[in-house]
């Protein structure tokens, strides 16, 4: 963002050395320190973004604002740049098979918060977990910050010269011996450069590798329909969805789009409510949200699919052992009955034949053109590491250019990639970290973050989106495009110019493109084609001697790229709620058979290769199936990720489902940390559920599941809110629709990012001190007939042996401050640190809090979090008990903490300087960073409310129209609400009868959690409605309802004033 360029004097205009000297000495604070290596401080270096004024043109002395013209998003201040006013820029985060259009908030040159681009027609302004967390990678102190050659730091110029030499060398021999290993990307600019390289160096080779293969959908569609097409799944158009081990809600690429579509077609009040059948082995988010879930080994999914296909095509079919044929035939009938409004999806980890079957079924049911549309797509690069290995082995590779990725870590272990890669004479690598691959590279170029670089990408529905930087690269570095251009020997190496050239349209169009963040272009014409059902090889069921192993994409680490991201490490896995680890997921019965229990380390042998990992008994897993998440066990990730979990890539062969594994006890144990220890809801009506047909008969059912309330007597104290309320312009409230919420946990990361929530490390999670203001409770509910009274008397560590966990239902519940009108936390605080404001918010005054913690004890929802150990100021290493270093004796960067504190109590910390400085940059300046010893909690993003109220007051002026109204679009969104792909959260003014939140609160599904305590929460929930098929053999009322009754719960007629 460069404003109009003024010069301060003619001297500046003439750019004389005297003027430069004056500028250097006089004006920019700290400028002289830059050239003085002794006093140069890291912080000044990276924070220079904050004090280099726009338009000053001091790029050389460290301005971090990009030079090129950026077009700020619509909310930019009108009259130039205002300090303290955030700016919004449209950009995008590239993913494997698409991109997520984003709008990023920037404060004083620092990107602070990532949101989805609400203007983008294919989205609803939401994002996914990865996008929310990716901003932390920008401020990662362990990022590659230097150019190296042979492990030694070299200057940027030297490194760039090496690229030029490379380019010249291969120009001479047509690129013989030049190989590229890249990650998949949708960037048109990269494709263009790739084409240039191919022209210039015809003998060069190009390989693609991703440990997580999301390209299979396109390859399968291409194969099935005989032409290069990419499938787009429209979950919103389907009435019946069959997932063949496809975790489209959780681990598939573009899950947030799928969630949006899925939830759109799932409205219990409307006539349309879709039904989801899931066939899977691992218990995934898709299985959790399914109306019918068939628990079957992943290697048998193909046969189940074949059976369903045969049933649909009226052919004879056989079902795998243990599968109820009725399940198959009724599911198939349901699909047939809803033909044209059906969708069958196969999971990316399933082999090609299952995908082909899925397309065949879709084709037979007439879903092509309906819920599945096919758009023409460029053919995918098919050569991968296997072919590269052959070249390397033959010694045919002179120079290997590794673009991003971390192949030494993530290429299947059997390849022995570290040794193979070394066979190339020169390895040039563009990497974000100095990681495992860094060790086997000759040249390492630091890569830039997508928020620091120019680029472009195509979303999964074929829309072109720009990637614009919000900040100059913090540590120098190159984009993939620049590196490629330099290797190609192009004269145009500036990534901005490269992207601009690719865009090849008018300046006006370019401006509009950057402003909108996407290219509004007519959608690609869908292709119509027919696929036929292939033969499915019969697979044998896994057994105790030949276990099945499923390698899955982790909900947090992805393929290991988020290993050094503290938010991701500490985000509870959506299903297991595990943090800071992966585990060998196993079913109860299989674990019993091997005599295993949680935390016991086993050795898994697959194809002669071994890996060790701790056992975790997962309810709802198929028998003889092991679930291994990729992305852990990094040996060189950084201060957060190194040594967390175990590396499943060691036994990975590239196939995501394999049978033939054996396990052996090692006698070791490993402690696993979960944020939720208790699995059962114990019959308490926290999450209330009903089946659709039941709900239609009795819409009040969920509200009637209400524990007995104490009689209301005259209160000892009048509730201060009763009076204060009258002065409030708005009355804030929030509703979470549990039918919509799929439990993806994007909101949790969004909240962490917005509200400066620190991470605490595994040891502190084990002590239950994690700081998340918002959590997602996951309860397993069981067939009440299978539960015994004794089950509720067992320790949490013994839940894994209980019989009821084999076939469970699970429910999610986002839990955040309930903003009780009669808040139990308030009247117990001795210093008035938590109280109500007139708008119904239970506000927390951090400055006043002395930390008696009584409010937390008295909070029935336990949503208050206490900063026990200065989590902001301590590095992770100092958060491990039993002895936490005391600042009285601790040295940071060789300086005594106590002395630093004495000098300046506000800036001292126990973190090394590089970490501390970046941490400070990453914080949202609108939210207080809380000290230790202070209680904190969800505020409904009060900073956003305040900003909106102030803006409205400014706008209203003398008109006095200061009330925020949804109809006028002035109601702010909370961070969780904005990030939610399912749009499951409504926030707004409950005193406005036309607001969404008021309407939701008027729903018959609306209820208050623990409303029987008369806390009168402002946060309420809409009951979860499931839509099982009454004809199915596994039809039953939601288990939670039965549990409620079994524990003595009664149904009370709804009284007025409840919830």
């Amino acid at each position: 963002m460069t404003g109009r360029r003024y010069w301060r004097s003619l001297d500046e205009l003439s750019d004389t050395p005297e003027f430069k000297e004056w500028l250097h000495r006089e004006f920019p604070q700290g400028a002289s320190e830059f050239n003085d290596p002794v006093s140069r401080r890291h912080f000044v270096k990276i924070m220079s973004a904050s004090f280099a004024l726009a338009g000053l043109g001091l790029m050389a002395s460290g301005c971090r604002r990009p030079e090129e013209e950026l077009v700020p998003f619509s909310k930019a201040p009108e009259d130039g740049y205002n300090y303290g006013t955030p700016e919004y820029f449209a950009t995008a985060m590239p993913t494997r098979t698409g991109a997520i259009p984003l709008v990023v908030k920037s404060y004083d040159g620092r990107p602070i918060k990532i949101e989805g681009n609400a203007l983008y027609p294919g989205g609803n302004g939401s994002t996914d977990r990865y996008a929310q967390a990716s901003i932390l990678n920008l401020y990662d102190p362990d990022r590659a910050q230097r150019f190296t050659s042979g492990g030694k730091t070299v200057s940027r110029d030297e490194a760039l010269k090496a690229l030029d030499d490379l380019s010249k060398k291969f120009a001479a021999n047509q690129g013989d011996g030049l190989a590229f290993l890249a990650e998949s990307s949708t960037s048109p600019s990269r494709a263009r450069l790739q084409k240039i390289i191919r022209q210039k160096f015809p003998k060069s080779q190009w390989f693609i590798y991703d440990a997580i293969d999301s390209g299979i959908h396109q390859r399968a569609a291409t194969q099935a329909f005989g032409q290069p097409v990419r499938p787009i799944f429209h979950f919103d158009r389907a009435s019946v969805i069959l997932s063949l081990d496809c975790d489209f809600i959780g681990s598939e690429d573009g899950a947030h789009n799928h969630i949006a579509g899925f939830v759109k077609g799932r409205k219990p009040e409307s006539n349309r409510m879709n039904r989801l059948y899931a066939v899977e082995s691992l218990f995934t988010l898709t299985g959790l949200n399914a109306d019918h879930r068939l628990r079957v080994a992943a290697s048998l999914v193909g046969q189940v699919a074949a059976a369903i296909a045969a049933r649909i095509l009226n052919r004879p079919f056989t079902v795998p052992a243990g599968v109820d044929p009725k399940w198959i035939s009724i599911c198939a009938s349901d699909l047939v009955a809803n033909h044209k409004r059906t969708l069958v999806v196969a999971g990316q980890r399933q082999p090609m034949e299952v995908h082909l079957l899925a397309y065949a079924i879709n084709s037979a049911l007439g879903a092509i053109g309906g819920a599945v549309s096919l758009i023409p797509a460029p053919e995918m690069e098919s050569k991968t590491y296997g072919q590269l290995a052959k070249y390397l082995d033959a010694g045919a590779v002179d120079t290997l250019v590794v673009l991003g990725g971390n192949p030494v870590y993530s290429v299947p272990g059997q390849m022995g990639w570290a040794k193979l890669q070394r066979k190339a004479k020169t390895i040039v690598r563009l990497g974000y970290y100095e990681d495992e691959t860094f060790e086997i590279s000759d040249w390492q170029f630091p890569a830039v973050h997508y928020l620091e670089s120019w680029g472009d990408a195509v979303t999964s529905d074929g829309t072109l989106v720009p990637i614009q930087p919000l900040i100059q690269p913090l540590f120098g570095g190159l984009t993939e495009l620049e590196l490629l251009a330099r290797v190609a020997g192009e004269t145009q190496t500036n990534p901005y110019d490269i992207v601009r050239t690719t865009f090849a349209s008018s300046a006006e169009a370019w401006k509009q493109f950057l402003f909108n963040g996407f290219l509004a272009a007519p959608a690609a014409r869908p292709v119509n084609a027919v696929a036929s059902a292939p033969e499915v090889k019969s697979a044998s069921a896994p057994s105790a001697r030949s276990l099945e192993v499923i390698f899955c994409r982790d909900a947090k680490m992805d393929d290991g790229r988020y290993a050094n991201n503290g938010w991701m490490q500490e985000l509870p896995d959506p299903i297991t709620k595990m943090v800071w680890d992966n585990a060998v997921l196993i079913s109860r019965k299989t674990a019993r058979e091997f005599g295993l229990q949680n935390g016991e380390v086993v050795e898994i042998t697959l194809n002669g290769r071994k890996v060790r990992g701790p056992i975790w008994v997962q309810p709802g897993m198929a028998e003889y199936s092991l679930g291994l998440a990729l992305g852990y066990g990094r040996e060189r990730a950084g201060r957060i990720g190194t040594g967390v979990g175990f590396n499943a890539c060691k036994i990975f062969t590239g196939k995501h489902i394999e049978t033939g594994a054996t396990i052996r006890k090692t006698g070791e144990t490993h402690v696993l940390a979960c944020t939720q220890n208790h699995w059962s809801m114990e019959g308490r009506p926290a999450v209330r559920e009903s089946n659709l047909d039941e709900f239609r008969k009795n819409p009040e059912l969920a509200r009637e599941m209400h524990e007995k309330e104490p009689p209301v007597v005259a209160p000892l104290y009048p509730n201060p809110l009763d009076q204060a309320e009258k002065k409030g312009l708005q009355q804030w409230g929030l509703v979470v629709d549990l039918t919509a919420c799929v439990g993806c946990a994007t909101c949790v990361v969004a909240c962490q990012s917005e509200n400066n929530i620190p991470i605490v490390g595994k040891d502190q999670v084990l002590r239950s001190r994690e700081m998340h203001w918002m959590r997602i409770d996951r309860y397993y509910t069981a067939n009440p007939a299978r539960e015994t009274e004794a089950d509720s008397l067992l320790k949490d560590s013994e839940q894994q042996y209980e019989r009821w966990i084999d076939d469970v239902q699970a429910v999610n519940q986002p839990m955040l401050c309930q903003m009780c009108e009669a808040a139990p936390c308030e009247n117990v605080c001795p210093v008035n640190a938590t109280m109500h404001d007139q708008e119904g918010l239970n506000v927390m005054v951090y400055n006043r809090c002395i930390g008696t913690r009584y409010c937390s004890n008295n909070c029935p929802y336990k949503v208050r979090r206490f900063n026990y150990l200065d989590f902001n100021k301590r590095p992770l290493a100092d958060l491990k008990g039993p002895f936490y270093p005391t600042p009285l004796l601790h040295l940071t960067d060789g300086k005594w903490d106590l002395a630093s504190w004495w000098k300046n109590p506000n800036t001292s910390s126990m973190r090394p300087e590089d970490e501390w400085d970046l941490l400070k940059m990453s914080k949202n300046p609108e939210v207080t960073v809380r000290q230790r010893g202070v209680m904190e909690k969800c505020t409904y993003c009060i900073q956003r409310i305040q900003r909106a109220e102030i803006a409205q007051k400014v706008k209203a002026g003398p008109s006095g129209n200061v009330r925020l109204k949804e109809a006028e679009g002035t109601i702010p969104k909370t961070a969780c609400q904005q990030a939610c792909p399912a749009q499951a959260i409504a926030f707004g003014d409950i005193s406005d009868p036309d607001s969404t939140v008021s309407k939701w609160k008027g729903s018959s599904r609306n209820y208050a959690v623990l409303g029987d305590l008369l806390t009168k929460p402002r946060t309420t929930y809409l009951a979860r409605i499931r839509n099982p098929n009454p004809a199915m053999p596994d039809y039953h009322e939601p288990y939670s309802t039965g549990e409620y009754e079994k524990h003595g719960g009664e149904f009370h007629a709804v009284e007025k004033g409840n919830s």
Partner: protein, 474 residues
Amino acid sequence: MAESVTQLEALVPPRELRRGPQTPYQRGLGGLTDHLTAMAEGKTPLWWWILFIPAAFCAAVVLPSMLAYLISTGVGVWGNNVPVAWGWDIINFVWWVGVAHAGTLISAMLFLTRQHWRTAIGRAAEAMTVFSVMCAGLYPAVHVGRVWFAWWLFPIPLTTGMWPQFRSPLMWDVFAVNTYLVVSSLFWYMGLIPDLALLRDRAKTRVRKFTYGLFALGWTGSARQWHNYEKAYLVLSGLATLLVFTVSSIVGMDFATSQLAGWHETIFPFYFVAGAVFCGFGMVLVLLIPLRKWCHLEDIITPRHIDRVCKMTLMMGCIMGYIYVMEYFIAWYSGSPYDAWVFGHRLFGHYYWFGGWIMIGVNALLPQLFWIKKVRQNLKLIFVIAVLINIGMWFERFTIIVGSLYQDFLPSSWHPFYPTWVDACTFLGTLGVFFTMYLLFVRFLPMIAVSEVKAITPQADPHHPLGGAKGGQP
């Protein structure tokens, strides 16, 4: 003559109803003074050093270093977590407050009810009260997250206009504990004045004379002074008796005013008073049984005194039993599933079931042994039981605090509590403070109220054969 003797004998109650003398001490009052001040004036015995050195180490090294560690590092050095935001800090606070109760109760209430046997043990028990209130008061002060702002708990008029919140029971607690500390210290100190003057008058060195003289506040023992003294003592004992009830009631309300199942009970104020007195009697026994032997006070603190304390303990134990039964009854009668869960899990629960059994077994059932006279006379056994009562009462607080917090309303947030070494060392430190102060008290101040004991000796009774100015031996 013979007739009159018969008449006199007829007035003497039958043997089984006859009360013995308050003290079997048969020598003169001067000897009694020597005897009672021997510890304060004589050579330091070996046992004193053996106890004092470790206690002083805990008080002077362990506790300050733990507090420095806590305050510099954060509450996280303890085991507290989020469902269980109060752990050993508040358990020990309530436990120490409980210990503090018996002293005032014995001194003040038994004084008001004219129970003369209290004179032999009153001073020692009061000292126990003062020192344990100090230990108790330490916990709420340092357990807060930002100790440096703990003064915000006091209503200090500031320019900020900030004021404490009087609806909070923690606020009431601040007043209750502080008032109790002030009044019980005053009460104890006032009782000490005549004896301090005594020590001053008997001092053989200038330092002792000066020091005791300073604190004796010019006491001469004139009738006017005695008159004022008795009046003031009466008033203070009246106040102190009230405070015995208020302070523990308010500590009980710290819990009872909450929402939490297991805390939310109207019986709590009464429950906590009873528990506190019970625990305090236990501590009195723990302290006095060895001290009477080591300080050679068997003829002052007699088995009859111990027997009476045992009977009081038995009564309190029965009350505890009643309360435990009532708690379960109310939990069942309320029909609240949360109450049912908490109380069921106290005995058969996931983690802390032992706490419930210890609490009921030790606090309600074990004192029933005191129905047996032989037990009340077996000092070693009494000592063991008294120690167990203190442990049992600690577990009662553990069960109430941790047992109710760790499994509250939403099962998703349930989490057990594990203490850390810092929790243990901090508690050890406060025990060190208590015993250090107590040992210093035993060594330098008369642990028996000399003037009061004299008043109940037979010699002090003019009608007694040994009494009056005429008789007795020096």
